[in-house]
């Protein structure tokens, strides 16, 4: 296992172009061992391309990338022995049962016999999937599929875990179960790279993050620190024309008192206030909502 704090992922001046379309430009960051690192940005920002470059299935056009000291473009096969990857679309083998999906992945990772059976059983148990061991993938709910994709990525005891929107579309209970598992892995020293649309997820799980927009890093740092540095503390949301269907207006406040005072004096007619979050940071930096491209 890597030493806590040592650089596990180093990305320098990374660029990726598909023909004339520049998907990533001058992306640079580092991830230390044991960190949970977030990649945030709207759909089409380049997050998925970036993680594919990191685990070595997309070639970079410019720059340099090192993961666990290896160049993913040259040593992808060796690198992926030490990685666990959960993709956006589960990509489970529909033609196989839950257990066979796991056992097939064991084979690819060179895990055999009793050891494979032990790991499969343990991981299925850890995500309450043992009862579904013999079921076909089509018999699983969305949450179960996601949990299976998650535990499948853990079969190789990965040093780095890459999670591409791991909780999208999941109900809160499954979401929290996955969060707990991610935290547990982190405590065990696993480095995690996480892409997500959910600001609360990034705030709760990530030690540091980068916000990517149109292939470029807009900002990076600790989530709470970023909010503190760029927002006043609270954000009031108001409907512009005082109807539920009207366009919303955001207004920052240093305190809840400032908001209630405005409401009392009739400056605003109706609205809600909440703590500032990463979405407000993104909006402030780009002038656009994080979900605008969804």
């Amino acid at each position: 296992m890597s030493v806590q704090g040592a650089a596990v992922v180093e990305v320098k001046g990374l660029g990726k172009a598909y023909g004339k379309a520049q998907v990533l430009s001058d992306v640079s960051f580092g991830i230390n061992a044991g960190e949970c690192f977030g990649l945030l940005g709207p759909n089409g920002a380049g997050k998925s391309t970036l993680i594919k470059v990191i685990y070595g299935v997309v070639a970079r056009s410019q720059g340099d990338v090192r993961v666990l000291g290896l160049d993913p473009q040259v040593d992808g096969k060796e690198l992926r022995r030490h990685l666990g990857v959960v993709m956006q679309d589960d990509a489970l083998d529909e033609a196989m049962t839950v257990r066979d999906n796991m056992l097939m992945f064991c084979r690819f990772h060179g895990i055999k016999g009793q050891e494979a059976a032990k790991r499969v059983d343990g991981l299925l148990e850890s995500m309450s999937l043992s009862a579904k061991s013999g079921s076909k993938i089509s018999a699983l709910s969305g949450g179960m599929r996601r949990r299976l994709a998650f535990v499948r990525s853990l079969l190789s005891n990965p040093k780095v875990l890459i999670l591409d929107e791991p909780t999208t579309g999941l109900d809160p209970a499954v979401r929290h179960a996955l969060w707990d598992k991610i935290r547990e892995l982190r405590r065990g020293g696993t480095t995690t790279i996480l892409t997500t649309h959910y600001m609360d997820e990034a705030e709760v799980l990530c030690d540091r993050l980068v916000v990517i927009d149109q292939g470029r890093i807009k900002i990076q740092g600790n989530p709470k620190q970023l909010i503190q540095d760029h927002c006043l503390g609270y954000v009031g949301i108001f409907n512009q024309n005082e109807t539920l269907s009207g366009n919303t207006v955001r207004q920052e406040y240093a305190s809840i008192d400032a908001f209630t005072s405005e409401m009392k004096h009739g400056v605003r007619q109706a609205g809600v206030i909440r703590p500032a979050n990463l979405e407000d940071v993104f909006l402030k930096l780009t002038g656009r909502d994080l979900k605008e491209n969804d």
Partner: protein
């Protein structure tokens, strides 16, 4: 050097596992998957060989059924590999995201493609050998060179399977494989010398036939299962078919590799 050899060995192991994955999936629905391989040759033997053949005057030393029998073994390898390479691969690539998942493990694009070729070649070899064995048992093919039929099936399987894989890089949706089948596979099948000796065809067609891997596969099958001119057939048609398999596989490799590894 040792690490290169080790890496090569590991690559072969992973490619074999990709083929094993396809076999395990194939096995789950075994009856449905082998049905065309079993029923089609039987129908060809029955309708063309046994029924239509008796209505035709034989121009050579063998009955029409005996004439056509080797082509049925070759046909089995053609269809099993082409459909697996085209529809099968396309479904795995586009709809099932199988390779996307595999490539989160040490498997890379090289192992995916080599695994496909192992799978296509193996299917061609096994199916062609099985049908050849049945033809020998039925007494319409000679057993002398039966041991060569797996190699024959392998060569047809890789070359025709590679055509299917290549087609995956040209079609815009799964429906368009019908055009590939109609304009490439069907002509290759009917003008192969399987139903009618190519000598009976116009001179130009006879020349064009040499561009078809299936034509060489049928010539190989006929020589092998008639036990006539086996050595010269393997030297000429076997070599050409092997070269075609290599060329088509290389072309396919260059077309699909960038799709798997952006």
């Amino acid at each position: 050097m040792t690490s290169r050899l080790k890496s090569f060995g590991e690559s072969i192991r992973l490619s074999g596992l990709v083929a094993l994955r396809h076999w395990l999936v194939f096995r789950r629905d075994f009856f449905a998957n082998v049905s065309p391989t079993l029923v089609d040759p039987f129908l060809y033997i029955l309708v063309f060989g046994a029924w239509l053949g008796t209505q035709m005057q034989s121009a050579g030393p063998r009955s029409y059924l005996e004439f056509m029998a080797p082509g049925i073994a070759a046909m089995t390898a053609l269809f099993t590999s082409f459909f697996e390479g085209s529809y099968g691969f396309y479904v795995r690539l586009v709809y099932e995201n199988v390779f996307k998942a595999l490539m989160t493990t040490p498997v890379g694009p090289r192992e995916v493609l080599f695994g496909e070729l192992i799978w296509l070649g193996s299917k061609g070899a096994i199916m062609a050998s099985f049908v050849s064995l049945v033809l020998v048992i039925m007494g319409v093919a000679k057993p002398n060179y039966l041991l060569l039929t797996p190699l024959m099936g392998l060569l047809i399987g890789v070359s025709c399977g590679a055509i299917g894989l290549l087609a995956c890089t040209f079609v815009k949706n799964i429906n368009q494989f019908q055009a590939v089948y109609a304009w490439i596979i069907s002509p290759m099948f009917f003008v192969s010398g399987m139903f009618v000796p190519t000598a009976a065809m116009p001179a130009m067609i006879q020349k064009v036939c040499w561009l078809s891997p299936f034509y060489h596969g049928v010539q190989l099958a006929q020589a092998t299962l008639w036990a006539e001119g086996v050595l010269s057939a393997w030297i000429i048609h076997g070599s050409i078919l092997a070269c075609m398999a290599g060329l088509l596989a290389t072309w396919m490799w260059h077309r699909i590799y960038p799709q798997l590894y952006g």
